[in-house]
C-alpha cells in the first residue's frame, strides 16, 4: 500500500491557496476576454476591460485578484489504497491554509463563531469535503470562496410538480436578487436533486467545472444553455451597471432524489471563480 505523508498535503494546500488567489485558471481568463465581444453597453465594456487589467496586475505584481481572498473550501479525494501517515489529514489541510494565508499576504476573513465573531487571524478553519475514490492517489482542490457572491446564493425545496420550469424560475429569481451585489459577471453552480445538503454540495461542485464545458446529460446541457441566455437577457450586466454579460457560465449537476422532493441550490460565484487542483 502506498504511503503518503500528510506534510505533502500541507505544502500543496499552502501553495494552492496562494496560486488560486493570484492566477485565475486559463478558462476563466478566456471567458472574461471573450465576453467583451458580446457586451454592447459602453460601461459594460469598460468594466470588462478593467477586470482583464486587474487579472494582469494580480499575476504580475502578486496582488490578490480580489481583497476577499475567501474562506478556503477544500475538496479532498482520497484513494482507498493510499495510507496517510505523519498526522491527522484535517490538521494538515488547516495548517496548509494557515501557512498559505499568512505567508502569501492573503486576507484573513474567518471568524471563530458566527455570533461571537472573533477573527481567527489565520483564515482557519477551512471547509473540507472528503470523498473516498479508487486508486492510491490523493486529489486536492482548493477553491477560496468570497462572500459577496456566497451571501446571494440560495436553496429552494421545490415540489416535483413544479418541474423544470420551477427550476428555471428559481435560478432566475436568485440571479435577479443577487444583481450588483454578487460582482457580475457571475459564474453559476446549480444543484438539482439529492437531499438538502447534497444539493448544496452539487451546486458548489458545479462551480469547479471548466467554463464552456456542458453536462453530458442532454436535457441538462439544454437547461444550462437556456439559463445562460435568459440570465444574460436580464440586463444586469458587468458590475450590475447594465449590459448583456451578466453570467459567464451556468453549470448544473443532478443527483437522484426522493419521490416527494426536488431540491434546487444556486451557488453564485463572482467573476473571480478561483480553484486549483493537484494530484499527490
Amino acid at each position: 500500500m502506498r504511503e503518503l505523508n500528510v506534510e505533502k498535503i500541507t505544502q500543496a494546500v499552502k501553495e494552492m491557496c496562494i496560486e488560486a488567489n493570484h492566477f485565475l485558471s486559463p478558462d476563466m481568463n478566456e471567458a472574461i476576454k471573450d465576453s467583451k465581444k458580446r457586451e454592447e453597453s459602453e460601461i459594460g465594456k469598460k468594466i470588462l476591460s478593467q477586470l482583464e487589467e486587474n487579472l494582469k496586475i494580480a499575476k504580475e505584481d502578486m496582488i490578490p485578484i480580489c481583497q476577499d481572498t475567501g474562506m478556503a473550501v477544500v475538496f479532498v479525494k482520497i484513494g482507498q489504497d493510499v495510507h496517510l501517515v505523519g498526522g491527522n489529514v484535517t490538521d494538515a489541510v488547516n495548517e496548509g491554509v494557515k501557512e498559505g494565508y499568512t505567508e502569501g499576504f492573503l486576507r484573513k476573513s474567518v471568524v471563530n463563531d458566527p455570533i461571537i465573531r472573533e477573527n481567527t487571524k489565520d483564515n482557519t478553519p477551512a471547509v473540507i469535503h472528503y470523498e473516498m475514490v479508487e486508486g492510491e492517489n490523493v486529489e486536492i482542490t482548493v477553491a477560496p470562496k468570497g462572500f459577496g457572491s456566497e451571501n446571494m446564493s440560495k436553496i429552494y425545496m421545490l415540489k416535483p410538480a413544479e418541474g423544470i420550469e420551477g427550476v428555471k424560475a428559481a435560478v432566475l429569481s436568485a440571479v435577479k436578487d443577487a444583481g450588483p451585489n454578487a460582482c457580475p459577471p457571475m459564474v453559476l453552480g446549480v444543484g438539482i436533486g439529492g437531499t438538502f445538503e447534497k444539493c448544496a454540495l452539487l451546486a458548489k461542485k458545479a462551480l469547479l467545472r471548466p467554463i464552456g464545458k456542458h453536462s453530458e446529460i442532454a436535457y441538462v446541457k439544454d437547461l444550462e444553455e437556456e439559463l445562460l441566455e435568459k440570465i444574460n437577457n436580464l440586463g444586469i450586466g458587468p458590475g450590475g451597471l447594465g449590459g448583456k454579460v451578466t453570467a459567464l457560465s451556468v453549470s448544473v449537476e443532478t443527483y437522484p432524489t426522493h419521490i416527494a422532493g426536488m431540491p434546487v441550490a444556486v451557488n453564485i460565484c463572482c467573476h473571480v471563480n478561483r480553484h486549483v487542483t493537484r494530484t499527490l
Binding site: R107, G148, G179, L241
Partner: protein
C-alpha cells in the same frame, strides 16, 4: 460623463453629480466595514464620540488584504454596501457625504442620501488589484484590533468610481433594469 474631483467632496460637487457619472476621486477617505460600523454605532449609543470626523467625509466599504513590503496596501476592492445599511442613515444625518461600495442599498439609505444631499458611488467589485494602484497611502487610525476591518485613512489618486445614487435619489441600478 467623466469628472475629476477632490476629496473631501464639497457640498457643491456632491450636488453636481448625477447617477451614471464616471468619477476619478483624489484626496482622503476612510475605510470602514461591518465590524467598524457596529463599533461606531455602539459608541454613538453610549454618547461617545466617533474616532473620525464624519462631517463631509468619505467612507470606503473595504477591508484590504495585507500589504507586501514597500507597498501601501494589498488588494483593495469594495465590499457589499448593503450590510452597512442598518448603520448608514445615522452617519449620513451626522454629515457623512460620500460612500463607496458595491451593490444595492435600502430605501432608508436612499432617503437619508437625499435628505443630506450625499452620494453613493460604486467601485468595480472584484478589481482589488487594479484599485490598489490608485491608493497612495494607508494608515490605521482606529480599531486596530479589528485587523482588516480596522478604520484606515487612505490617500487616493484618480480612484475610479461610478455614481449609483445621486443627491436627488436617482439610482443607476434601478435605471439599468428598467431599460430592459
Amino acid at each position: 460623463m467623466e469628472k475629476h474631483l477632490t476629496l473631501p467632496l464639497s457640498k457643491e460637487d456632491a450636488e453636481s453629480l448625477k447617477a451614471g457619472d464616471y468619477v476619478y476621486l483624489s484626496g482622503e477617505m476612510y475605510t470602514a466595514r461591518d465590524a467598524a460600523h457596529k463599533r461606531m454605532d455602539e459608541a454613538l449609543n453610549d454618547n461617545k464620540s466617533l474616532p473620525i470626523n464624519i462631517e463631509g467625509t468619505t467612507i470606503y466599504y473595504m477591508g484590504p488584504s495585507p500589504a507586501r513590503e514597500g507597498r501601501p496596501i494589498g488588494s483593495a476592492g469594495p465590499t457589499t454596501a448593503g450590510r452597512m445599511d442598518k448603520y448608514t442613515p445615522r452617519l449620513l444625518d451626522m454629515g457623512l457625504r460620500c460612500m463607496i461600495g458595491k451593490g444595492k442599498r435600502t430605501e432608508a439609505v436612499k432617503e437619508a442620501i437625499v435628505r443630506n444631499k450625499a452620494v453613493y458611488f460604486a467601485a468595480v467589485g472584484g478589481a482589488g488589484a487594479l484599485l490598489s494602484k490608485a491608493i497612495v497611502s494607508s494608515d490605521v487610525v482606529a480599531y486596530e484590533d479589528l485587523g482588516t476591518e480596522a478604520i484606515r485613512k487612505l490617500i487616493v489618486k484618480d480612484f475610479p468610481v461610478i455614481v449609483v445614487i445621486d443627491s436627488l435619489g436617482n439610482n443607476l441600478y434601478d435605471t439599468v433594469m428598467k431599460e430592459v
